[in-house]
Subunit: 437 residues, 2 copies
């Protein structure tokens, strides 16, 4: 058997400790599958004293993670520090620059600096691997980069944030409101003390930008992702969606739009109505799922745990096994220098059905005002429901009006909402959700 692969681990939080545990538990099995042993030789973290329930005395310790990149006894660095910039980026650059392979779970860093890091890895002939950065333990990076590699991809989309999905599916099963479920999720440790990255869609957008690059051979373009989260989804919206045969999910969608000779890239993270017979409707709790639509393979679904120590460690170690086997190539399948700068698509030209919800004052003429705005903007209404007054809509006596539009361009819906902006009839901002087609 070949020499062991010598790994340095930067970051010993939940995932880092999970990697140590996994490599301890399955060492023999992994050596058989990888053709050589995979051994942690050095670690780095902020707090050496913290009890993580694992024996760290057998590893070289450094407080300075960048020192791992200079360590001659290290073949590959696993970066589990996190953060788009700062120590993680410094370590990543130093590791690849020193001709060592890098395995990372850091979606924010990849969404912002993936192109640079991939170029660096390719120049050095080393690996840059990031299965754990998208959908936790689900091997969807490999699924796109390799499994679906024969296909022109039309669309890649999925449930990419477990915290949001846990909140939405708990709202669905209990009828409780967002803030209530979020508070509980925080108490249980399912949501961060500062949940903004998750619930405002930023985390999902990082992952989507990575998936889009892999799918379309385009440069990571996080800045072009239209991002919205789930703060404004009411229990009433979920109930209306259910009455319409749909569930509410935060879905990230990346799609090649426009003419084939001059494609544009559409990227959006937004709460969607998903038909109950669609696989994403059955993604519950903290699960993640990604759908890949290819021109020959059709629709592929990858589903599993999107976070947590075990699943994420599984993805990190899968990458280490690929490195140990020498089975790696350009991080985004094609050379970084050849990734296209795809211009962003105009969302207004997209056609689809949509769900619109208004909380309005219960008085004469409000329905006519909304209906007129729809008509004047060219939005065709498929169904409309007005419910009696409810205290859940943010103002006493407000009533809910839920509309499903016929298929049409999004710009018309945007124009209708613009016409209604500032109307004294409205209580709070209307909620718009695309219906997944």
């Amino acid at each position: 058997m070949a020499e062991p692969l010598r790994v340095a681990l930067a970051g010993l939080g939940t995932v880092g400790a999970g990697v140590v545990r996994l490599l301890d538990a399955n060492a023999e099995l992994i050596a058989r599958r990888a053709g050589r042993r995979i051994e942690i030789v050095a670690v780095s973290a902020r707090d050496r004293a913290r009890d993580r329930g694992i024996d760290l005395a057998r590893f070289r310790w450094t407080d300075d993670s960048a020192a791992l990149a200079r360590d001659d006894g290290v073949d590959v660095v696993a970066e589990l520090v996190g953060g788009a910039d700062g120590p993680a980026l410094t370590l990543a650059r130093a590791t690849l620059g020193a001709g060592k392979s890098l395995v990372t779970a850091n979606k924010a860093m990849l969404a912002h600096h993936g192109l640079e890091l991939a170029g660096l890895a390719e120049a050095q002939g080393v690996a840059l691997k990031f299965e754990a950065a998208v959908a936790g333990g689900v091997p969807v990076v490999k699924g796109l980069r390799e499994g679906a590699a024969a296909n022109a991809i039309a669309r890649v989309y999925g449930v990419l944030n477990g915290t949001c999905n846990y909140i939405l599916s708990t709202m669905e099963s209990t009828g409780r409101e967002f803030a209530d479920v979020l508070a509980e999720a925080q108490a249980l440790g399912y949501a961060e003390a500062d949940p903004a990255f998750d619930i405002d869609g930023v985390d999902a957008a990082h992952k989507l930008a990575i998936l889009a690059s892999l799918a379309f051979g385009s440069r990571p373009a996080f800045g072009d992702v239209a991002v919205d989260g789930i703060r404004h989804v009411l229990a009433a919206d979920i109930a209306e969606a259910a009455a319409l045969g749909h569930r509410v999910r935060l879905v990230g969608v990346a799609e090649a739009d426009g003419p084939r000779h001059e494609p544009r890239l559409f990227q959006r993270v937004h709460a969607h109505l998903v038909p109950v017979d669609h696989p994403l409707a059955h993604v519950t709790g903290a699960l993640n799922a990604v759908v890949v639509e290819g021109d020959f393979v059709g629709r592929l679904l990858f589903q599993g745990a999107g976070a947590g120590a075990g699943p994420t460690a599984s993805a990190v170690v899968a990458d280490l096994i690929d490195v140990a086997r020498g089975e790696f190539g350009p991080p985004y399948a094609m050379p970084a220098a050849s990734l296209a700068a795809m211009p962003p698509a105009d969302a207004g030209e997209r056609r689809g059905r949509a769900y619109l919800r208004f909380a309005v004052a219960d008085r004469v003429g409000v329905l006519a005002e909304i209906a007129a705005a729809m008509r004047d903007a060219g939005v065709s209404i498929e169904s409309l429901i007005q419910r009696g007054p409810s205290s859940d809509l943010g103002a006493d006596g407000a009533v809910l009006i839920a509309i499903v539009t016929h298929e049409g361009p999004e710009r018309c819906v945007a124009a209708a909402l613009e016409r209604l902006r500032g109307s004294p009839s409205l209580v709070g901002r209307p909620l718009w959700m695309p219906i997944l087609g």
Copy 2:
């Protein structure tokens, strides 16, 4: 860019023609992703004259597929002939023996000769790849071999035969009987003229044996798969299952059983009751889906089209891309010589709930006879339903008795059925289906 990868295609049926079309349609994209062009240079098939709607004049033609293995202008042979033995096996041995890589969609050949062929490939340092052999376009071979490689796998199971799933889900949605739906599927080309391989579970068993090897590092042991098909499932069974909150699916299950230091391999293909909230319950039509349960990653689901020209070609070309990239290792992840000969598990020791259906003569004492057999064999009954006489049970005036057992060892259920064997009260053989836990 490196030299093109020169491919010889043996077999120009639906899948072979699909591979030609795919490589034509996506040539540039594939070259970018693979780092080199992938070019078909030679083909072989039984009938040169047949119109396949593709231009074959540009390829060297041979009537003798084994000649492809000797062709110095060929780097890799794609074997799409089919059949466990015969020309496919001759070609596979000759190709690997000549130091060329082999890509195949041939599950029967792999289930029977996979160990020998893997050893041959490893000895020559070439690739033996077979993504298309299991679940068509779904990259589950890669998902197991690489994506889940860090995990000890507890169980791998799934819906592995699209024909059976099409029949069962059509029975479910229409209430029609098996023979009727099968005849329609044959007329539509969804089922073979001789459907035995599909409907009796043999095709699913071939695929299961391959998955089990990858999951457990064991030698392919097709002969140890307990196989049963779907011929005996009645529309009434599907209706009873639905009333119990379940759907009927033909599921292949492979599981490591027994003590960890001396594991045994359980492999079975059988119609199961699947709870409606389980992902496999939502696998409809000709879809395939595979669940992998790992000790760190938890439950992974891979789903997509299990057959058809496009999806299968997608998997074949994905393998060719891996070969072009040089990203391949031992076919079963670990060296063939190290694959363990895992002894088969004793199904009788397995514990679970089960569905039992009897068609019985409508007369005094039948129910007591069945209940006594259950009691005497130690089977605990969770629920029992007796329906009025129906003409669908194979005899005039027969009535249906459906039983769900509490969890218990399978040998008890087998003993109860043995006690009832030959009873003049029974019309036809009882149907037993495990309930997926």
